[in-house]
Symmetry: C2
């Protein structure tokens, strides 16, 4: 394994601002490299010694296991660290875990902090006559952080709480220790460094060990192992579950619409072009057309969870070129507020679900990303709903020039968020009745004022997380509106035809999953809410 | 609306075989066209009469409603057809529905079959002094099939069961009838024609009204309205729910991996190329790499439901260029059979869930696509598991030349399915231990015989629906295997690096959602199991 190239850390200057102590950092890094090299050399030496005295690999008590190829099946139960507690005092357990940190004390004792996802326990290896040899302790001391080990040991009540572990009332006294998977080269950063809050980094000596966002994303697999990221992506999964669960209870079914489109839909710009055999295809920038066609096809209420693609060359904290859309579309009986109200109930159901079932994860993330708890309004007063006009007035009252408020730009959105929070004590609100000229051609105009539309945006902490509207379900009127916006109806024939065959009034909305996650937790950059984010400059890993 | 072009039906010769009576068909079609034109003319005339006598639109009792722009909100409850029954005899109800069929009897009575998804009820409009005018009945008689109407009427017990409707014990006596959305042009085919079973079509006069698959797909929005398709896509949604529900109960979380990749992954061939700003990207042909990287990132158990893209120019009954992958990956403690067994339990949970909760939908589909009920083995004997070698032996015993069985091709897969069903009475089985040379580079070889691998395929009715394996988690060994298969490790650096930073043994599998749906229901063509299918020749609608 010695010939393997270690992954190069690339601490580029990114959104997080330039590092002020690049030189110091490099010196520190060089020192780290040296230490890592020494550790690796030591490990190699130990492995040789071991091989010489005990054969090619693992003894019964310690050593590197042969490559796991499913050689046999003992059926022995392996335990979860989270299941360990004082009630299991004296029990011998077997577990697979990652070595979070290790610390040798003299040449007779090694402490290992063992980790499984967000759980950890302290384990202790101590020279014991006829049980644990000096050789074994020496070998154990050479195991790299982040290696994966198989441990057999006895659960022992701890006289005092072990603060460095999530399981605090017991430790594991190791009797057997085997390496399942080691580290080649060195880690791009330590998990300790990767887990620090920005505030902590800014205010202390550890500034030089700050792990920049680009470095994290270049080495995302290691970055994702932090407790924070384990919690972030558990919460991402939870939002999807809550979304589907609520809609399922309201009679929706899940659909899957194609991402490969024959024509550049919705608008000609910002669509990725795909080579498709001898011709071209385009990546859907939303399931808008397909989900409306499902309404024309009598599905009544549909949702989709799927990737959407935006070929916009903007490198902001809140844009990705590929993100997860949580989309829904439903028939309307009398009024598009039926849709808006259902979407509101959906969000409340998600917020409540997160707070009730995932408070532990929210708390974990809060340690690295401190934030005021996300606030929404419950009870009879309900969610704050402003018309676009009212929102503009709030901004004008706050000192913004009305002349620039034909649209509300990102900066003013955030300002509005602050105004609303101060005045209404909520981080979540709805703006209804957007001007028609700000919305796409398929948006239904207001019945009384054709300059307005039956459309709405939802906001969290002053940023848009949902856009939706009543859609035009009448083919003739749709064609008229398309032409007015410079779209040739024939270019979207399949879509327009759907409405010629009879279509009920309907509306819907599209939610950006990563935005909801980012804003609920105040992660400050959408890349942190995406497993392997994609932006104009990033297609890897 | 008269200037709108009706969608052209395109009865091309497709997978379903050439139509034998194309000329007859065209004659029939011309006649249909004539009738439709007459109906449209009649409708226009009526609308004019109405406008002349009663103003521009809707009276209180009948007529076309103005464009639904959410003008007002009465809060009046509209009912679901499925909620109607004899216990509501005498009740006045309001409902929105599609006109499935209409039939005038003389000039005093019109029968409407009203439909909502898979539910239908008979409604009756009868000239009644001071309530229902002759004019109203005449107008109603002109409403096209598939129009959407708003009906107010009284529920009346029916003296005898109404066989043409799903609600058989009542009918609705209409007092008010308004058109919400009409038809422009003519329907590409009637829903009645689109709902016929192949057998029925083959054996009767209606052959000439046979609706070919391509015609259906070109007019998918209308095609999707059949009871069969409403049930098919409810079942598709159900499979997703059952998949997630089971995995969630087993400690999995949902992930979303990017479909845009920086490099052509897994193999150079059959990947779609995307223009990505000034460079190129590629569409992921599976979440394989990302889900393995999640294992290296300590997620332990992950699944993904997402589109996968295959640029294979093959127009078979079972290939799509874009389909939904149900993927999972999990750590292994001792043996990859842990994964295989979990996948088996997952499938049993899906099959049982469908049978228990969706028997009505399965029955509906069975009317158009008659099939032997899907069979699997329950109880202590469990699912049939064959080794690749045993599967080959079964084929050889059945008369296949062993010399051609280095791989089992599609034809022999089906033959094996028939052998297995006859011998073991199951449509569902597993083949384990595929030869290494048939599997991708990341597959773990068998520990004892390096020509075999720790990999498996799952089959339904003799067709593969899942492929999976233990993966190589050791970077050094992975590089060796990559080189042996002609893949340059540096071309997939992010992936290989993930294993250098320590990775537990793991395995998983990928399921084709549309294949499971197609084979469970025996739909015979995968396009029927996809909402808007994509193949080398089809990117629309």
């Amino acid at each position: 394994m010695a010939d393997a190239t270690p992954p190069a850390p690339t601490p580029q200057e990114t959104q997080e601002g330039p590092s002020k102590s690049e030189l110091k950092k490099r010196a520190k890094q060089a020192e780290k490299d040296k230490k890592a090299a020494e550790k690796a050399a030591k490990q190699a030496e130990l492995a040789q010694q071991q091989a010489a005295t005990e054969g090619d690999f693992a003894t019964d008590f310690y050593g590197k296991l042969p490559l796991h190829q499913s050689q046999s099946r003992s059926g022995k139960t392996r335990v979860a660290i989270s299941s360990l507690s004082a009630s299991r005092d004296g029990e011998t357990v077997l577990l697979r875990a990652r070595v979070h940190t290790s610390r040798a004390q003299g040449n007779k004792m090694v402490f290992l902090n063992l980790r499984q996802r967000t759980d950890s326990v302290q384990a202790l290896l101590l020279v014991t006559p006829e049980k644990v040899s000096k050789q074994m302790v020496k070998w154990a001391a050479g195991i790299s952080d982040e290696s994966i080990v198989l441990v057999e040991g006895v659960v022992k009540k701890s006289p005092e709480p072990i603060k460095s572990a999530s399981v605090q009332d017991v430790e594991v006294h190791i009797s057997k220790l085997h390496l399942i998977s080691g580290i080649e080269g060195r880690l791009p950063f330590s998990l300790e460094d990767a887990s620090r809050a920005d505030e902590e980094v800014a205010s202390s000596e550890v500034q030089m060990n700050r792990v920049l966002l680009d470095t994290r994303l270049n080495n995302r697999v290691v970055d994702l192992r932090t407790q924070t990221n384990q919690a972030v992506f558990k919460l991402q999964s939870a939002i999807g579950d809550l979304f589907r669960g609520y809609l399922s209870s309201q009679g929706f079914i899940e659909i899957h619409s194609p991402k490969l489109q024959g024509a550049a839909t919705e608008s000609g710009a910002s669509v990725f072009k795909v080579g498709y055999f001898k011709g071209n295809a385009f990546l859907a920038q939303s399931p808008q057309l397909a989900k409306q066609m499902c309404i024309a096809a009598d599905f009544e209420r549909v949702y989709e969870v799927g990737p959407v693609f935006r070929a916009e060359d903007s490198n902001t904290h809140r844009h990705l070129t590929e993100f997860m859309g949580l989309d829904l579309e439903m028939t309307i009986e009398e009024h598009y507020h039926e849709v808006m109200e259902l979407l509101d109930s959906l969000f409340l159901s998600i917020f409540r679900g997160l707070k009730e079932k995932y408070s532990k994860e929210i708390e974990v993330v809060g340690k690295q990303f401190p934030a005021d708890e996300f606030k929404w309004r419950e009870g009879p007063e309900g969610t704050l709903k402003l018309s676009f006009r009212e929102a503009v007035n709030l901004l004008v009252e706050d000192g913004v020039d009305r002349a620039v408020l034909d649209d509300i730009n990102t900066e003013n959105e955030k300002r509005l968020g602050r105004i609303v929070r101060a005045k209404y004590e909520t981080d979540y609100f709805i703006i209804d009745k957007f001007p028609m000229e700000l919305r796409p051609f398929y948006t239904m105009p207001d019945p009384e004022d054709p300059t307005l539309s039956n459309s709405y945006d939802f906001f969290m902490r002053g940023e848009e997380i949902l856009s939706g509207a009543q859609r035009i379900h009448d083919a003739e009127f749709l064609c008229k509106q398309m032409k007015a916006k410079g779209v040739e109806p024939d270019s979207m024939k399949g879509y327009v035809d759907a409405f010629r065959m009879g279509c009920p009034p309907h509306g819907g909305g599209g939610i950006g999953l990563e935005r909801v996650l980012m804003l609920f937790l105040k992660l400050n950059n959408i890349r942190r809410a995406s497993l392997f984010p994609r932006d104009p400059k990033r297609l890897e890993p």
